[in-house]
Symmetry: C2
Subunit: 255 residues, 2 copies
């Protein structure tokens, strides 16, 4: 599950909150110095959001998109009967609602699952930047298509995997995505979610998530406790989850 990490950004000094986004993009393609400068110039300094605060409400008109700098965000859908579903988790370096650049409102809310820092970028600034640097535009487009690929992987999990494989698959995915931005080492990563959050991602109840976590712990595959995921047996966890990182498009290639 270990990934070769591409070279980090070169000019961290002024706008360090853009660094993880650049790590994510440079994992997939080259980003020229001019493109990097353009990107850094349009992302505003981050703002702080406390855990459990809604960052964006469903259907609210939007003229900016938020880059997650620190913390965890969830794309949440509240249902008639009070149930909640999380359709994607965002980790630092994700342009969490970049899709609002074309959609102009969201079909779901964005919820801070932990304390977060978010750096906003005006849609008008994105228009200007990508008209000047079309390749940068394609990289941003790519990152929304990567989110869609993650949606598809979750769809497959929800449709065709049992609870243990589903949970294992999510933990494998986060391992890879966090490694790309330097927030996981080979043994695991911090994850300040509740079991109920995981249940809302996986289409399960928190009661059942609890039982499955115990099962995975007793099978010595992975431990989730005290806000930290420790992967004891990466190969075994991969096998249980039927996990392949192909859908995360980790290879560097002209886009």
């Amino acid at each position: 599950m270990v990934i070769a990490i591409a070279d980090g950004p070169s000019q961290t000094g002024a706008t360090p909150w853009v660094d993880k986004l650049l790590m994510k993009l440079r994992q997939r393609d080259d980003v020229s110095a001019a493109e990097e400068a353009a990107l850094r110039s349009i992302v505003e300094p981050p703002q702080v959001y406390p855990a459990r605060r809604m960052v964006i409400e469903e259907n609210e008109p939007l003229d900016r998109s938020g880059l997650l700098v620190d913390g965890l965000l969830g794309r949440v859908k509240n249902m008639r009967d009070g149930q909640q579903h999380i359709s994607e988790l965002h980790v630092p370096g994700d342009f969490a609602d970049l899709h609002s650049f074309t959609l102009k409102r969201l079909d779901h809310g964005i919820l801070a699952l932990t304390d977060c820092r978010i750096a906003w970028t005006k849609h008008s600034a994105i228009v200007t930047a990508i008209e000047q640097f079309p390749h940068l535009g394609r990289l941003l487009w790519f990152s929304t298509n990567l989110d869609a690929a993650i949606h598809r992987a979750w769809t497959v999990s929800l449709g065709r995997r049992d609870a243990a494989a589903r949970l294992a698959h999510l933990l494998c995915e986060l391992q890879v995505r966090l490694e790309v931005v330097g927030l996981a080492d080979a043994t695991g990563y911090p994850l300040a979610l509740t079991q109920n959050d995981l249940a809302n991602c996986l289409g399960l109840t928190s009661v059942h998530v609890n039982r499955v976590l115990r099962e995975l712990r007793e099978r010595r595959l992975v431990t989730f406790r005290g806000g930290h995921v420790t992967i004891a047996d990466p190969a075994g966890l991969n096998a249980l989850a039927d996990f392949s990182p192909d859908y995360l498009f980790l290879e560097k290639r002209p886009r």
Copy 2:
């Protein structure tokens, strides 16, 4: 469930296979005559694919994207244990694998579920067209983000709805999407899928889909028989499905 349909394309004559895509885009934003001409000029004449033929294999390198002109396509994932999952259905007017423009390969296969006609467009031609017409680029980007919104809706269904609501939701979604391109009237639409195809979309077995179809028929909500969906009680079906077309972004607005 009836939608106000935006004005159709103006210059159908030469490349009618692009018409439904333009209907879909013009439902959401204006498309100038120049943008229309650029789009028509880069889409090649359609090719025929028989039912059950794989159109694109998972991970195959791609330098073109396919516009579905006639028929139904599915994005399919084949699993280790022989199960299949369909993560999206495509209707005519959908640029089915436009996401390969940035991804360069797909994390899933594209399968012709019925006899299809597909019009290909080279990625290099798309690059040129959208550098000249950035707004057209954003419209195409929008359409991949719309696919992602559909993924999220399916995710919610799979995670939080029971079999009857899940099936009802899919039938409601197809009604709206087909109406936009003129392939559904207020009473229903042709749908040449098997019950097994539906099961593969919904994360169910064909046996259970059969039972639920019977239930929906007996409750006089909707009938699916002989390759045709007849919606007897649109309001009732909507209510059962907890369906709202918000996630399909039907409103016209500058993108």
